[in-house]
Amino acid sequence: MLNSFRIPGAFARLCRRMYLEEALAAAAFAMFLLTLSAQALMAHEFKAGAIEIEHPWTRATPNGASVGAGYLVLKNEGTTPDRLVAATAEGAQKVEIHEMSMKDGVMIMRPVAGGIAVPAQGSVALKPGSYHLMLMGLKQPLKQGAMVNGTLTFEKAGTVPVQFKVESIAAQGGSDGGGHDHMTMPSGK
């Protein structure tokens, strides 16, 4: 919204000066770096039939907090679609599947009825600002560096054990694996 008004002049000038080939090469290199760091981050994964569960993680919670959020990427290598319908996490009374969004500065969160579809030969990401597992009724705060045992239940692939890695309280799941994933690149969104 307001962001679109803030395209730095220096960047625009730089763009004009760059030849297309140079720009493409730079973009390709940037993608390459991003892929590398993303792969390093995704080192831990689990399987449920044809579904690959990549890097389940959660954020360290503030003192006395009773909720947390779980994130992961589901990749379906099979030819039949499936659905993530339930989850559990040790230390949480219950886990719900939620979707968050931002509308005109208002944070909106809703339980997702019927779970999240994992399309055949496709993938879906549970990530900040979007789908997440809502860990409710936490008995203990989630401490950075810990592993939380849990399960994911799919409509077809059944229930599989996973481990959520507790990352820093600032984690946003960016390719840097830490800090707030705030890109300062101009965006036309």
Binding site: G68, M102, M107, M109, L135, A170, H180
Partner: protein
């Protein structure tokens, strides 16, 4: 007083200025538009953000707008049963305060719960131990929370989940208020560190020399 004729050039300039003012007002008001599913959309003008309040502080005792007079402050709304936006905003604000250093010494940062039924001042105090000690939590009676939310054009709504539990939708903007309690801008959730610092510095510089 002598009446002087306005040249057409002046008239055009005035027209342009008037248009720019209206456009700026529309842009400034955009964040205060409530989400469509909340019923009647209401657009607040920036001039109406802020107002008197009296709430219970996480440090004990009451805190009112009168106590804040003379110093700029930042105020935002949330709840401790928030999985992402509230802890992240509090963390980002803590980091910004750290970067401001002594310059931010007098900056009060207020975190007002929209969930006073669960967020007592004691629970807020415990929660805020994970963040910069300058951040003050505010709770209070439902009617007092409603009043301050209305004054700051903050939208909130309880959303039932399973087993009688609930979560909440709420405005995520961090309002920046000047030394007179007047609205002077906001920090958005997606603002990067540099933008946050620039906005906070502008707020602190506007109050003039410290002391």
């Amino acid at each position: 007083m002598k009446s002087s004729k306005l040249s057409s050039g002046t008239l055009v300039a005035l027209g342009v200025a008037a248009f720019a003012l209206v456009a700026a007002a529309v842009v400034a008001a955009a964040p205060f538009i409530r989400p469509g599913d909340a019923g009647v959309a209401s657009v607040a003008s920036a001039a109406t953000v802020g107002g008197p309040f009296r709430l219970v502080s996480s440090r004990g005792g009451a805190l009112s707008d009168v106590d804040l007079k003379g110093k700029p402050f930042a105020i935002f709304f949330g709840f401790t049963h928030c999985p992402e936006v509230c802890p992240t905003s509090l963390w980002d604000m803590s980091e910004a305060l750290k970067r401001l250093g002594p310059k931010g010494e007098d900056l009060k940062v207020l975190f007002v719960t929209v969930d006073p039924e669960r967020d007592t001042p004691e629970i807020l105090a415990r929660y805020l131990q994970s963040f910069d000690p300058r951040i003050i939590g505010l709770s209070g009676a439902r009617k007092d929370i409603d009043a301050v939310a209305r004054a700051y054009r903050v939208y909130w709504r309880k959303i039932p989940t399973s087993d009688g539990d609930y979560t909440m939708d709420h405005t995520s903007l961090i309002y920046l208020m000047d030394a007179e309690g007047g609205y002077s801008g906001f920090i958005a959730y997606k603002d990067d560190a540099e933008t946050r610092d620039r906005k906070l510095n502008a707020l602190l510089d506007a109050k003039g020399p410290t002391g």
